[in-house]
Structure formats: C-alpha cells, structure tokens
C-alpha cells in the first residue's frame, strides 16, 4: 500500500465540481487495513482472470487430442509430473476460492443472508481451505 496517494488535482473550489479520479486499480490491492470482504473481492478478481487465462490455454491444449494418442499421451505424461501437479493444485485453489466466494456474492448480491455476510465469509473460507487440502492430497497421491 502506498503511504500517500498521488492526488488528482482539482483547482476547483467547492461548486466548480471536478470529476472523480479514474483507474486507480492499485487501490484494489490496498486491502491490508480493510475487511475480509475486500480480500475476497481481490481474490475473486485475480482468480477469475487467472481462470479465464487457464480456460483459454486448456482449450488450446485440448486440440492435441485431434493428433491422436501420440500427441495427447505425451502431454499427459508431462502433466503427471510433480511440477504440473503443483500447477494443478494452485489452479484448484483459484477454482475453490473463486467458486465459494462467488457463491457468497451470488447469495448476498440477491439479498439473501445479508445480515450474516461476514459469518458466511468466514465459514466459506474455512470450508474452502479444507476442500483444497483434501483435493491437493488426492492430486499428489494420483
């Protein structure tokens, strides 16, 4: 978090209204002193973009299937290496985090469970970590 923001100048005195500053994306990452909901938001953005990227790569990689067993099975051997399995575990963290936080936002965002939103967030965070650990163990065991 930057200690001091660079201001958008407003020569305007009150009444000669300026515009709100734009594009301060870095503020999304200044969640150190913010609530858990802010961290959830940033996680959702980052994981979501990561997942879109993964989806595109995944679709391209699937084209290997058209090259028959030699193409695909070579890739699968590579994908079963510990390095790729670790990537899978990271991917899974993104999916679980994005999915459960998304579930929270979908519920809250339609006006359901709003009074319990903070508790819901904590419960889902714990649930997500548990699911992730179990899945990671399963992936590494093969």
């Amino acid at each position: 978090m930057s200690p001091v923001d660079s201001p958008v100048e407003s020569k305007a005195y009150p009444g000669q209204s300026g515009q709100l500053p734009e594009h301060q994306v870095w503020r999304w990452f200044a969640f150190a002193r913010r609530s858990l909901g802010m961290a959830g938001f940033v996680l959702n953005r980052v994981a979501g973009l990561g997942l879109v990227l993964y989806l595109l790569i995944h679709l391209v990689v699937l084209s290997q299937l058209t090259r028959g067993p030699q193409g695909w099975d070579a890739f699968i051997t590579l994908a079963r290496s510990p390095f790729f399995l670790t990537l899978d575990v990271i991917l899974l963290a993104g999916i679980i985090g994005h999915g459960l936080n998304g579930l929270r936002v979908a519920l809250i965002g339609n006006g359901l469970l709003v009074p319990w939103q903070r508790r819901l967030l904590v419960v889902l965070a714990v649930l997500g970590i548990v699911l992730w650990v179990i899945a990671a163990v399963l992936i590494y065991r093969g």
């Binding site: 734009e22 938001f41 006006g111």
Partner: protein, 239 residues
Amino acid sequence: MWTITLKIARYKPGEARRIDTFQVSIDPERTILDAVEKVWAEQDRTLVFRHACHHASCGSCAMVVNGVEVLPCIKLIKSVTQPDGELMIEPLHNFPVIADLVADMGPFFERMLIVGMPIVGAADPLPKQEAEDFNRFDNCIECGACLSACPVVATDSGYLGPAALAAAYHQLSVSGDSLSKQAWDTLDGEHGLWRCHATFECSAVCPSNVDPAGKIMALRRRMTIERIRQMLGLGSRSK
C-alpha cells in the same frame, strides 16, 4: 496530556505532495479533529481541512486516518493511538483533492442529487411512544467515507456509489417504488447497483450505521424478484 505525532498529507495546487510531521500535546479524551484544529491554531495556519459540527452531524470532516475512513470529530485520540503514538492523516480517497485534507465533494453531491432523497423523513416512534407523525434527519450525513472505501469507485469514476444507492433504496421504500427516469437509468444501468461487488467496505467505515452495502443488496433482491415475477407473468408487486 499526551504528545502525539500527526503525519498529515499536504498538497497545494501546483506543488508536489508531501507529508508534514507535527507534534501535538493534547488530552487523549479529545478527538482527532481537535488535534488537527490544534495544529492549525498553534502551528501551521496554511493547513486546510473541512469541519463544522464536531459531533457527527454535518459529515464535512471525514478523513482517512491510518488507512481507514473515520469521522475525526467523534474518534477520540485514546481510541486510535497511545502516548507518543503516531497518526497518518490523509484526505478521503477516490475524490479529487482541492488542497491538504479538503476533498472536492462536488461529484458526491451530484450523485445524491440524481437520487434526490430528502434528508428529512419520518421518524420511528420511540418504544412506548404513541405513534405520531414525527420526522427526523436521515442517518446518512453525506460524509463521503463510503465512496472513499469502495474499490469500485476507485476504478470506475462513473459508478453511482454506495451513498446514493443506499439513498435510492430508502427513497423507493418511502415513495412506493417511484423514482425519476434519470434516477432509474443510473440506478439500473451499467454503473449503478449491479456494479457493486459486495466487499461491504462502505458499511464497515460508515460512521452513521447506514449500512449502504446491505441496502444495495436489498435493492437488488427487490429488483430481481420483480424481474422474475414479471418474466413469469405474475404481474408487478409494486404499486
């Protein structure tokens, strides 16, 4: 008496931003705003900041203290620091800065004007009180803290923002779901209530318990239910 250090973000048009450090000797039972006013009164008359009522009613003094939006007029020194402690004081985020701690509130009030909620409405009768037509000021004191804390406002300068959305919910509840065309278009448009990402930062920093995020969600629920009803041909629930 405590001696505390105030690090105040300074800015004058045409000059670079800097942080000035002031030592203030003050009773810890007094407020952050008192400390800032004391800096102005005793050390640096060039310091500008907004303030008026000193009891959380006017909403003009909102600032960012140690990274979080507060109303400094009701935050006691002893609640935010210790003897010899340090406070970092900045103007509201996400607003244009006129100078020092003075944010330009124009964009905020433009948003409030779109919705046009009256600042005075019906008061709930007190416990054991006969229901009479009492009125009262709304809880929202229009301080801008919610816009400063909102991650969507930070990147989308066209976003209607928490205060105006909460006002819209309030206004719809008392007006039988009617709003001006402009208000509807802004409210339900791409930069209206569907832009919110439910971080609840606005509700966390609101000094007046307005709970803008909760109201945005309630508004969405009503709009979604209404949409589904009308899609299913059940007719409108509103008047």
